[in-house]
């Protein structure tokens, strides 16, 4: 028995020693390890709607133009941005336009072949090919002719006025000599194309290896002919879907940065506090960047109670949104007063703001014919009690907290709130897009920096059974002035005039309140203090937009 004990103890000791001796290598300055909570489904940007994909592909592809962290456009593959001033963007009689693009000479694909106008024409054809299932065609479908002037110049002929005609095509270009045979074989071949073998890259980095479920290794592209070559030779993406484990990896020093597809706001706040209190991870810093994700509550404007503007305004006066964001987000996510964030070029800070005012709320409700009944709940002339229902994504802790806060605050103005949450597939598959909600739904829209009000607020975009539920005007807002402004914005090519239209629309919107603006979400990213030049953008442009400029200090 003693012998057995001795043997067991020795084995345990040996095992422990082995564990302790075998360690991890020290930080490798020739690589950057980025941790992500989601893995791209494919590296084919044209078929993926995941932000994880654009994050991974950010350093692998270049486009005609690119946006920096302040949302400003700059030319990347083009020699300059076509504008009306420099004559590259012409407006012709009959509401037609021509936009001329000039490519920089000597740009190359990963296999060394030169990038020419033919590649862009091919890319346009792929986008417009009905069989291939490429989702977005906003720009491409307005092009009635793609004219190639010479190897490096092409002219897009637009069939109508459109204010976003000088941003390029809907997607970055793909090489014709590689994809033409693939596309000829059909949609399945295009979707199945193995992007770890196909030379699709024209950016500063290229794919070396993708072990699905584990990591993606990218290395500097030796054939890259752009002006900014990669500083760090290897960039690795590690996929860890559980955000707690992701955080653990950061605390253990196993990753160098976490990109915005990673930590939740709560985790970001906790990490930030840990760092400020000097407890752990003091080598890292957390960045909170206001994003274009707009949390809001849609009203159902066909509901007889909510049709009345005074009721809607009263309900917003009855929520203390400032206290809410202070309590829930430590002030990192701030109250929104309309549907655009400050960084958007059309943002108007001077709209009606609804500061918390329960007295005013009750006054407005009274003007609309609602009086507090004996049980404290508002009643109208017909004897109906104001009991409103709200839906949001079940399991989303933040949204559920927001609902509880609103329920509590509305009790004071005599409004009862019933909370009926459902899984996101139900909310976004059925309830919201088909307007199957009685009073309200809470969720977020993610928009690109070029967003304009037409898609969300024009009356032609109300989903109905007749139009097969097309359109995203889910509140069902019908307002002649709003329609006029939305449609004018689409056609207004002069940016100053367009900004004025944006401003006017937001003032109207804040007065009519088809939805309750809550707050704008922040992107949370964390970086090692020695990793320089990481610039989160706060919109759909990935944080890797300038990955070639990231470098290790010392």
């Amino acid at each position: 028995m003693k012998k057995r004990l001795a043997i067991t103890l020795t084995m345990v000791l040996v095992l422990a020693l082995a564990l302790i001796a075998n360690g991890f290598a020290a930080r490798n300055l020739k690589e950057i390890i980025i941790g992500m909570a989601q893995e791209p489904d494919t590296l084919n940007n044209m078929l993926s709607d995941m932000s994880a994909t654009s994050q991974a592909v950010g350093g692998l592809t270049d486009d005609l133009l690119e946006r920096d962290a302040n949302w400003k456009l700059f030319p990347q593959m083009a020699t300059k941005i076509p504008t009306i001033e420099n004559g590259l963007w012409k407006v012709l009689p009959g509401e037609k336009m021509q936009v001329t693009w000039q490519l920089k000479k000597g740009l190359r694909w990963r296999d060394g072949k030169e990038i020419t106008a033919e590649d862009f024409k091919f890319t346009w054809e792929v986008i417009m090919n009905d069989d291939l299932g490429v989702p977005s065609r906003e720009v491409s479908e307005l092009i009635e002719k793609f004219e190639i002037k010479d190897k490096y110049t092409f002219v897009l002929h637009f069939k109508q006025l459109y204010h976003l005609a000088n941003l390029g095509l809907d997607y970055n270009p793909i090489p014709k000599h590689i994809f033409e045979p693939i596309v000829k074989s059909g949609a399945k071949a295009f979707a199945e194309a193995d992007f770890t073998k196909v030379a699709f890259e024209n950016g500063p980095y290229m794919v070396k290896e993708w072990v699905r479920g584990s990591h993606l290794v990218t290395v500097a592209n030796p054939k890259y002919a752009g002006s900014e070559k990669a500083k760090v030779p290897t960039v690795i993406f590690r996929f860890i879907s559980n955000t707690n484990t992701l955080m653990a990896n950061l605390l253990a020093g196993a990753v160098d940065m976490l990109n915005p597809v990673g930590l939740t706001l709560d985790q970001g706040l906790a990490l930030d506090k840990m760092i400020r209190d000097q407890k752990r991870a003091t080598d890292y810093t957390v960045q909170f960047t206001t994003a274009l994700t707009w949390e809001h509550i849609d009203f159902n404007l066909d509901n007889p109670w909510l049709k009345d503007k005074r009721v809607r305004q009263a309900l917003v006066y009855g929520i203390d949104r400032q206290a809410m964001v202070d309590a829930l987000f430590e002030g990192k996510q701030f109250v929104s007063h309309s549907y655009l964030p400050p960084k958007h070029y059309g943002y108007n800070p001077n709209v009606k703001q609804y500061e918390y005012n329960p007295t005013k709320a009750v006054e407005l409700l009274a003007a609309a014919g609602w009086k507090k009944g004996s049980d404290g709940i508002m009643e109208n002339a017909k004897g109906e009690k104001m009991i409103l229902t709200i839906h949001t994504t079940a399991g989303n802790a933040v949204r559920e907290k927001v609902e509880m806060i609103i329920k509590d605050q509305w009790k004071k103005i005599g409004v009862e709130l019933k909370i009926e949450n459902v899984p996101s597939t139900v909310l976004f598959g059925d309830i919201s897009p088909m307007r199957n909600f009685e009073h309200m739904t809470m969720y977020a829209w993610t928009s690109p920096p070029t967003t304009n009000p037409y898609g969300l607020w024009d009356s032609s975009q109300i989903p109905t059974a007749e139009n097969s539920y097309a359109g995203q005007n889910r509140p069902g807002w019908r307002n002649a002035k709003s329609d006029e402004l939305c449609r004018a914005i689409l056609k207004e090519l002069d940016e100053k005039k367009r900004i004025a239209l944006f401003h006017e629309h937001q003032v109207l919107w804040a007065e009519e309140l088809p939805a309750i603006p809550l707050y704008f979400r922040v992107d949370v990213s964390a970086t090692h203090k020695s990793l320089k030049n990481v610039m989160p953008t706060g919109n759909t442009t990935p944080i890797t937009w300038n990955v070639q400029n990231w470098s290790w200090a010392n």
Binding site: G23, A26, K188, G213, T425, V426, G429
Partner: protein, 327 residues
């Protein structure tokens, strides 16, 4: 026995067929499809675009047609289909992940047996001793412990608090291998990633098997033939392992066979916490994303595992215990 086997296998076929219809139907009834989710990130998608996308990917077909297409492809052509979410053939995504889950399951089973069996026997031999009570308490704690939380606690202790000689984490906080590693699964470089997930996955098995072996051993040890064996003068070790243990393991075989399908399912949480790329997480992701092809493949796989596991348990029982006979 042969006739019994053939009969059981024949019974499996209509059962699995019925299960496949049920699984497909339930997924079909879930509202929303990937295109609807796509709209949330892209409010400018027009109705024509949405209709076009649904047509390309086959999301607008009615239920019987979709099921028939899937069945014909799977059974006649042996083609499990194409994953909408991962944009690769189903067989490729399953082929990447299934070996990982099998490795994790095997490691977990072995580890659980290695720990539970000696502890169970020890507990039985020293019934009512202090050590026995201690082990019982730990067993109850372990059974009540949520896998998810336990996994995170392990990472906290072994990856964040404890460090190795070069300042890095003692055990890796999740993942399956060092980046760029081509080492074999039996090398320490790969095994160190396996230790924590295998243990966490096996925790419930360790605790329940330990208790179970303890009780079956107790039952057997008090039998007359054990007393006879001791009276014959056999060494205690021979009495325990050759006679008592082998009889006590008979019901254990059933438990083992039944635990195989549950390991496949239970691995989902462990795989998520430890970023272990297995089919548990794949099943969850594919169902949530309504990726029919992959979901059907993995759910049917689970169903087959359960049915086969049952059959295996029954057969093993007959093999191990000569008193049991089927016909």
């Amino acid at each position: 026995m042969q006739r019994y086997l053939i009969r059981r296998i024949l019974q499996m076929i209509p059962l699995l067929f019925f299960l496949s219809i049920l699984i497909f139907l339930i997924m079909f009834l879930m509202p929303g499809d990937p295109i609807d989710m796509m709209v949330m990130g892209n409010p400018n998608l027009k109705a024509e675009d949405i209709a076009r996308l649904k047509k390309v990917w086959g999301f607008d077909d009615p239920f019987p047609l979709r099921y028939y297409k899937w069945l014909r492809q799977a059974v006649l052509h042996g083609d499990l289909g194409f994953s909408y979410h991962w944009k690769v053939p189903v067989i490729q995504i399953v082929g990447e992940r299934l070996p990982n889950t099998l490795v994790l399951m095997t490691a977990s089973l072995l580890l659980s047996l290695l720990i539970a069996v000696p502890l169970g026997i020890f507990s039985a031999r020293r019934q009512y001793s202090f050590a026995d009570y201690l082990l019982t308490v730990f067993a109850f704690i372990g059974q009540a412990m949520p896998t998810f939380w336990f996994g995170l606690m392990m990472i906290l202790v072994f990856s964040i608090f404890l460090k190795n000689s070069s300042g890095g984490p003692l055990l890796p906080p999740g993942g399956m291998m060092d980046i760029g590693s081509t080492a074999s699964i039996f090398s320490w470089g790969r095994l160190k990633y396996l230790i924590m997930p295998a243990f966490v996955l096996g925790l419930h098995n360790i605790t329940s098997w330990m208790r179970f072996i303890r009780s079956t051993m107790l039952e057997v040890i008090n039998q007359d033939y054990i007393r006879t064996a001791r009276a014959k003068g056999l060494k205690e070790r021979v009495v325990i392992y050759k006679h008592a243990f082998r009889n006590a393991m008979i019901p254990m075989i059933t438990l083992l066979a039944m635990s195989i399908p549950s390991l496949v399912g239970g691995a989902t949480l462990t795989e998520t916490v430890f970023a272990w790329n297995g089919i548990g997480r794949m099943t969850y992701d594919s169902v949530m994303n309504k990726d029919y092809s992959v979901a059907m493949a993995s759910l049917m796989f689970s169903a087959i595992m359960v049915v086969v596991g049952n059959l295996l348990a029954d057969i093993m029982y007959a093999v191990v215990d000569p008193r049991v006979r089927y016909d």
